[in-house]
Symmetry: C2
């Protein structure tokens, strides 16, 4: 997929900013639910961090019924994600979606590397206070679908697929169930 | 102390940025060691975070011989600090001093509140992967001195003074020992 979304983007100045997604916002349909103006920029690697899942203050997410994605510093590890170009007018809405106001996620600024070796500065989010807990099957599915849809390296996709979800057997929101259904039919169409 | 350093500062745009310090950079002499252009902006409060001390990946700091300051999300708690106005040309140097390149600290963006109730967006840093460990007596001293020098609320100063340091009995760097000595004579001059 062409990375034309990022041409001429000068860091975080100007009318837009770059957001590095590594969780459910890997999936185009999912990010467009609340951020219709998000434009795919590129796939990128965050060095010396590791993906994790957990419950903020030990409380399970009511949306996802399992641990939610976060990252933490871990020398030698890496997290792959999608860089989305977003309008600055979308910034506080994205912060809110990411639970910054409620104190769950903190805004971070990171440098990620594109597959061409270019380094770009992005906004992202992480939790600093959580108990590790596996994701629900549906949450894991959205993440894996996004990783596949946007062409994250196969090795990393395999790591994501190998994550053991929890044993949640209920439903998640209609909205998300719909997205999963749509996504599955899109990806498995021959 | 007048907060004239921040007059007319429009967030993080333009030639300067605001840095929220909560550790050894609370002390003017300490921050000026490597950032001579830092200008005192104001004292501010970071809501729903808590101060902690620790060793990144369990390894003791060679500079401070004990746990180094960090913050984490904790609803209901607060961290007081000093907001410094810095030149953007100082930004990557500050990141490096804060151990961002070496992967110890991650850059965060936070909203802090001044004592006049104004909310300002600041750059700061925290560790995501560390083992809690008490600070050395010297490190604690620098922090307490900074808190006193820059007029952090007395109640918070008491909390800092009540922190139990480790039992490190050796020296730290000449530079820092000098700063502590100078600071002590300044603060205890009658």
């Amino acid at each position: 997929m062409a990375s034309s979304g990022c041409e001429g983007h000068a860091g975080q100045e100007g009318e837009t900013f770059l957001y590095f997604a590594y969780g459910s916002n890997l999936l185009t349909e999912r990010i467009h639910l609340r951020n219709p103006s998000a434009v795919f920029c590129c796939v990128a690697r965050l060095q010396d961090f590791k993906l994790d899942f957990g419950n903020f203050q030990g409380k399970t997410s009511e949306r996802w019924h399992g641990g939610i994605a976060t990252i933490f510093q871990s020398p030698g590890d890496e997290v792959w994600g999608v860089v989305w170009k977003m309008n600055k007018s979308n910034l506080s809405s994205l912060d809110e979606q990411e639970g910054v106001k409620s104190g769950v996620y903190v805004v971070i600024e990171i440098k990620v590397s594109t597959q061409e070796g270019k380094e770009i500065t992005c906004r992202s989010y992480l939790m600093t206070n959580y108990e590790s807990a596996p994701p629900s099957p549906q949450y894991k599915k959205v993440i894996c679908m996004g990783a596949e849809e946007n062409g994250l390296p196969l090795e990393y996709q395999e790591k994501l697929k190998a994550i053991e979800p929890n044993d949640y057997k209920g439903k998640i929101s209609d909205e998300m169930e719909e997205i999963i259904k749509k996504g599955e039919s899109k990806l498995y169409r021959t």
